[in-house]
Symmetry: C2
């Protein structure tokens, strides 16, 4: 049986510990190609590089793995992998992104570069998974993620994914108690409430740091926030068709400027 | 009756013709506050500024309008408007973004900074609209957009929007024939197929320009691509809950690693 071809990217950059762990798991499952940003790209959402140039250089950072570092965003990396690095070659059987240093549950999925790489894979029709560890530390403990990441990727390679979806996988931080299991969830109804820390630079000009508090409005038990809080791995299948189909019906009924 | 408070942002930057036209329409409808990027931010998707500082300066670019230029992304602008500029003040009745120089139909909604400003408004619970003109030219003709933008914004101020949605409005380019009407649509099933134009800089180092062709797979007549091609204004109500609810059911049935 042919080994699967696995494309790896991330948003923390090619030197981050998270991608190192992800590549190590993927080497156990198939042939690996890495195209990842050459610097941290957190919070880049689904940004792409428009009106500027891109650089791409081979990297020997992962032993025995074909790897490239790219000056662009996570979405750019997946596009370059498909349409330049692997052009006219075999295309990946799965796209995996991460492991992100920090949670991408709930509304954070919108701001997540990790997930934009995965969504970009899904747009191309390739099963795709974004992995995040709910621990922001650069020195986070990743040992407990190994089997989870392997098991989920194997399942996706075996069964595929529903058309037009990519998985948003969040893994609880390392705790003394083992992870309880894996749950398919919906995106929790929560948001960030920002605060702006207003300061002055040495020249007396004002600047800001954006900080924020995460506020969870969701009382359900079928969402990703609940899963992480209760020590389960959460998996939210995400779609890139943003149409609110119910709202299409409502507006068609209620509006009087249509024709 | 109290005049509505209207927050205006965009992704082409505060000096672009598109935002000038949008502010002019909004001045006819209410009190206007502008917080917009200080430079073009096209293709920024839902990026936010993480790990870097933000600048915000008052601008007198729009006559008689309170306006600020921000060093951040469109999403940052809306966050700063709510949590700094209008902190402890009356919050906007509607957030409008644009008018974008170029189409944001179909899959382009994911990459659109224009729409991320609108979505950010929707996350805050404010009715929000992203306006795009399907003409990429800086010198595009905007005269035919005036009444469309006004009519749609009035309708939203009057009737509100379904919870958790923002409108993605695309307006056909100026043609000799008048616009046929306004349609509520779904996001067309289409994608960009990228090509990378590989060049060498004066030092002999390689770089790339990303170019692409838009490919429409959608045969339906209820989508935004069809509407624009047939000279209708398209309105897609977009949601920020990315959960593919049907896929939640499928994975729960098919997977054997859950518990």
């Amino acid at each position: 049986m042919k080994k699967p071809l696995i494309l790896v990217s991330n948003d923390d950059g090619i030197t981050s510990p998270g991608i190192f762990h992800l590549v190590n798991v993927m080497k156990e499952l198939g042939d690996v190609v890495v195209v990842a940003p050459n610097r941290p790209q957190s919070g880049m959402g689904h940004a792409i590089t428009v009106g500027d140039t891109l650089r791409l250089n081979e990297s020997s950072i992962f032993e025995g793995v074909r790897a490239y570092e790219c000056s662009g965003t996570p979405a750019d990396c997946v596009k370059m992998a498909r349409h330049f690095v692997l052009k006219d070659q075999r295309q990946p059987d799965v796209v995996v992104s991460g492991i992100n240093h920090g949670s991408n549950t709930s509304i954070s999925v919108l701001y997540s570069g990790t997930m934009s790489a995965a969504i970009e894979g899904a747009i191309e029709g390739t099963p795709a998974i974004g992995f995040s560890l709910c621990d922001y530390s650069h020195q986070a403990e990743f040992s407990h993620t190994h089997n989870v990441v392997k098991k989920i990727t194997q399942q996706v390679l075996q069964k595929g994914l529903p058309k037009g979806t990519a998985l948003n996988v969040n893994i609880p931080p390392w705790r003394h108690e083992s992870i309880k299991g894996i749950r398919i969830c919906r995106q929790a109804n929560a948001k960030w409430v920002e605060e702006f820390d207003h300061r002055y630079d040495p020249n007396g000009r004002s600047y800001f740091w954006m900080t924020g508090n995460f506020v969870n409005f969701d009382k359900g038990e079928d969402n990703d926030e609940w899963a992480i809080a209760n020590n389960y791995v959460s998996i939210v299948p995400c779609q890139f068709d943003l149409t609110a189909h119910q709202a299409v019906r409502v507006l068609n009924e209620e509006w009087d400027i249509l024709n």
